[in-house]
């Protein structure tokens, strides 16, 4: 399989990942936020599978499948369940208004590109230019955790960061060893269970999932 095609697939994947990160930041409703988050998982799985196909790395198929099941389906579904059961207000409540967040996000993209330029010059992989995008995605995930009120949006931000790291792994090194990936996947699963438990406790104690109320 030609490296040209691989290049294009990863480029397109990177573009989509960045687009989805922006989309996550611009969403107003919880449900659509979850849809975009699920889409991110699916794109990630698709890119992983395609990279596996073009680089003849069968291990990547397994991680693609796990990614699809876990991040594309299971986690969004679990989060939706939590929202439904706990009667969380279905609107995303931003601390900084959305256009402003988008502008900050745009600045972060430029910043992460500048920061990763030296790394890119060192790398010889054809996919090196995705490092900047992965970095930007991590920063955007953090931005989301900072600028949104609810605990659930913070979890989504956290998971989006995890997704971007995974993407960086796939893009930069054609995937980590399968064992490491399985471990990470398992960690994420455990983390989400712990988050879920936390939500119940937080709500029982504070009768809300708004972080500001916990500080009082």
């Amino acid at each position: 399989m030609s490296s040209e095609l691989l290049q294009q697939i990863i480029t397109m994947g990177a573009a989509l990942m960045l687009l989805i990160s922006f989309a996550l930041l611009s969403q107003k409703r919880m449900l659509s936020l979850l849809h975009w988050f699920a889409l991110q998982g699916i794109v990630l799985a698709a890119v992983t599978a395609l990279v596996g196909y073009t680089s003849d790395n069968t291990e990547l198929y397994i991680s693609a499948t796990i990614t699809l099941m876990l991040k594309g389906v299971l986690l969004p579904w679990v989060l939706w369940k939590i929202i439904r059961q706990m009667h969380v207000h279905r609107e995303v409540e931003p601390l900084v208004n959305i256009p402003m967040t988008m502008l900050i996000a745009a600045a972060l993209v430029v910043f992460s590109y500048q920061v990763t330029l030296p790394i890119e010059h060192l790398s010889h992989l054809i996919t090196r230019n995705t490092i900047a995008v992965a970095m930007a995605n991590v920063l955007l995930g953090m931005l989301m955790m900072i600028t949104r009120k609810k605990a659930i949006t913070q979890v989504i931000g956290f998971l989006a960061i995890e997704n971007s790291l995974f993407f960086a792994g796939v893009g930069a090194t054609y995937g980590m060893p399968l064992v490491a990936e399985l471990g990470v996947a398992f960690d994420v699963l455990i983390a989400s269970v712990v988050f879920g438990l936390f939500f119940y406790h937080i709500r029982d104690t504070f009768e809300s999932l708004d972080l500001n109320k916990m500080e009082k």
């Binding site: 208004n97 256009p99 402003m100 430029v110 590109y113 500048q114 330029l117």
Partner: protein, 673 residues
């Protein structure tokens, strides 16, 4: 020859001021003499500017006046010549206009002081562009600043005018101080006040940055760059309209001249740092957008126009900033394009903003109010004013084939060359600022639909608008000149750009002349034919022929068009109060950009008869200029706190005073160490 003409113009301006003093009380004679002389001075300015630009010569002359050890140095080079041309082009129109305009003051108030200060003001501006040493420059600079203060307070009966004058004076002085600091920095390394030795001196990067910052802030303050623009919307509306035409049209351009003179010429292109151009670019983009956004929320016609000056200064700075970036990265040709875009917009803005202020003066003259909410339907009562005002509106809205479009188009072309730069941060920033320019241009069009629609179209909103009358011949003639020039500069850029091309040749030794009309005079091709081309003559010709043809085809001859009551979706009971107002026109934008305006609304509903019957609704909304809230008020509070603290230190007991002396002695002794 050119310099002699220019000095002649300067002398005649001073003479005009003197005549105004001599002819106090003889208003009718003074009217013609003073403004006639100013028109002559303008004619000489234009002549010397043209000669200077055509001959590319830099002629210097030191006058035997001034300080004992420093005679006045004057010099006319391409840069000065271009600005003399700009000054002359608008001044000739304003002088003729003023002959009619000041008639309003004869008998009532007299205009001797207006004549005196206008002469001095013009002389100040002409002197600045001719100055060849820092002393002469500052002398004329202060002459310009101080005499324009008297325009602002000309109608000093009103309190708001005195307040505006005060703000204006403070800002003018702070800016003068900063500029002086800039010259001082240059003097420190040149060892002379003469510009020629400042040019030759080489500064360390640190000190050249200091000089740049001082000049940028000093001239930026005078030019009205956000957030130092606050004096502008206060001062320009209250001055008499002919004076505000000059202030908005050319005085703030003289600040641009000062900036180019100090940064591009004295510090020199070789001394640029990478962040200078970026700073100017960012200042320009934010001024452009903020200026137009604030303009949209004004309903005082002249205040609105003043905010538009802030916007247009921003557009000029975008061009200059692009030029500086390209010059730093060693692309002189592209730098020349940026510079020319900025200069082109400078003269364009002088023309259409001057025209708009003259038009506003005509409207003010006819209706007696600056409040747009009391106007309407003036196109029927002031047909000639309506036509020239429309020309200005179309020009400032950057619509082809008028001049505003050409300069913005050139700026876009310069911005599109960004990928040729090395590095990646700046090429990524430039498109963003081009997008801001696009936003500003389009919002300006929105704003001028509002201005024209509310002031000239629709139905009269007050009796004074219904009884408005057309202005006299002098004013009409004065306004026709810039209107024609706007169109000419719009359709013949290929003839005009080679003329201003002398300026980049002088400053960066690069010329656009060869590429600009490589494809013939019909097509404007700033860089190369394959990049972009624009032909205003063909577009205009096409529109005229096609429009004429359709009209000829469709127009049924010999048939009178039937006039009927308007339809308005079948509602016949529509009165003039039901029209859209200036406030309601800007409502969508007020809501969309509420984060920037933070509008304060105040609604009173009178239901005194019955809780279901509304007698009257009073609605008030104010959009705020955030720079007051976030910069100037805190600054005021801070200075107040500092002065209170200082005052307190003065009122301490004897021990405190002894302690002060003791500390002073200690400090002085410390210097001996």
């Amino acid at each position: 020859m050119a310099l002699n003409l220019a000095l002649g113009a300067l002398a005649i301006s001073l003479f005009a001021a003197a005549t105004a003093v001599l002819l106090v009380g003889k208003d009718n004679v003074a009217r013609f003499t003073v403004f006639g002389l100013l028109a002559v001075s303008a004619g000489l300015s234009i002549a010397s500017g043209m000669v200077g630009l055509l001959t590319h010569a830099s002629v210097a002359l030191s006058l035997p006046v001034g300080l004992p050890w420093l005679p006045m140095h004057t010099r006319l080079d391409a840069l000065g010549a271009f600005f003399l041309l700009t000054i002359g082009a608008l001044l000739i129109a304003v002088s003729i206009y003023s002959i009619g305009y000041v008639r309003e003051y004869t008998g009532r108030k007299g205009f001797a002081s207006l004549g005196v200060f206008m002469g001095l003001f013009v002389a100040g501006m002409q002197g600045i562009v001719l100055a060849d040493d820092a002393f002469t420059f500052m002398l004329f600079w202060e002459l310009m600043s101080v005499s324009s203060y008297f325009f602002v307070t000309f109608e000093h009966e009103h309190e708001e005018n005195r307040k505006a004058g005060y703000v204006y004076l403070i800002m003018a002085h702070v800016s003068g101080l900063l500029i002086l600091g800039g010259f001082a920095t240059l003097y420190a390394s040149a060892g002379s006040f003469e510009f020629s030795s400042m040019r030759d001196a080489t500064l360390s990067p640190f000190w050249s940055s200091v000089a740049f910052l001082l000049a940028a802030f000093g001239f930026g303050m005078k030019a009205g760059v956000v957030p130092m623009h606050v004096w502008l919307p206060e001062a320009h509306p209250v001055a008499p309209s002919n004076a505000s035409a000059l202030m908005s049209g050319i005085m703030i351009k003289v600040a641009i001249f000062g900036f180019i003179r100090v940064v591009w010429d004295l510090i020199g292109v070789d001394g640029f740092q990478w962040w200078w151009g970026t700073l100017i670019l960012l200042a320009g983009s934010s001024s452009a957008v903020t200026g137009v956004l604030l303009a949209l929320q004004q309903h005082d016609l002249k205040r609105l126009l003043a905010y538009h000056s802030v916007e247009n200064i921003g557009i000029i700075l975008i061009g200059l900033g692009l030029g500086m970036i390209f010059a730093y990265y060693g692309h002189p040709l592209l730098a020349a394009l940026g510079l020319i875009a900025g200069l082109y917009h400078t003269i364009n803005h002088a023309l259409f903003k001057g025209l708009l202020f003259m038009g506003a003066g005509a409207v003010l003259h006819a209706t007696g109010t600056r409040n747009m909410e009391e106007m309407g339907g003036l196109i029927h009562r002031m047909p000639m004013t309506a036509v020239v005002f429309l020309v200005a509106c179309v020009s400032i809205s950057a619509l082809p084939p008028f001049n505003g479009f050409v300069s913005e188009w050139l700026t876009f072309q310069a911005a599109l060359l960004a990928p040729q730069l090395e590095g990646s941060l700046i090429p990524m920033l430039i498109p963003f600022s081009a997008a801001m320019l696009a936003l500003a241009g389009a919002l300006a069009a929105t704003c001028f639909v509002k201005v024209y629609g509310i002031v000239f179209l629709g139905q009269p909103r007050s009796p004074s608008a219904a009884d408005a009358h057309e202005i006299d011949g002098w004013m009409k003639f004065g306004m026709a000149i810039p209107a024609v020039l706007c169109l000419l500069l719009g359709i013949l850029p290929t003839l005009f750009i080679p003329l201003i091309d002398a300026v980049p040749q002088l400053l960066i030794h690069a010329s656009l002349s060869s590429s600009v009309h490589a494809h013939g005079w019909l097509w404007l091709t700033p860089v190369s034919e394959a990049r972009a081309s624009y032909s205003a003559p063909i577009a205009l010709f096409g529109m005229l022929v096609l429009g004429g043809l359709i009209y000829w085809l469709l127009h049924p001859r010999g048939q009178v068009v039937r006039r009927v009551h308007f339809w308005s979706c079948g509602n016949p009971h529509v009165n003039t109060r039901m029209q859209y107002t200036a406030t309601s026109f800007a409502q969508p934008l007020r809501r969309i950009f509420s984060g920037i305006y933070q509008p304060v609304e105040h609604i009173e509903i009178d239901r005194s008869d019955h809780k279901l019957l509304t007698r009257s609704i009073h609605y008030e909304v104010h959009a705020q200029d955030m720079s007051w809230r976030f910069i100037y008020r805190p600054l005021l509070a801070l200075s107040e706190r500092v002065s209170v603290w200082v005052a307190k230190q003065h009122q301490r007991g004897v021990h405190a005073y002894l302690a002060y002396m003791f500390v002073t002695i200690l400090v002085l002794l410390a210097f001996l160490l």
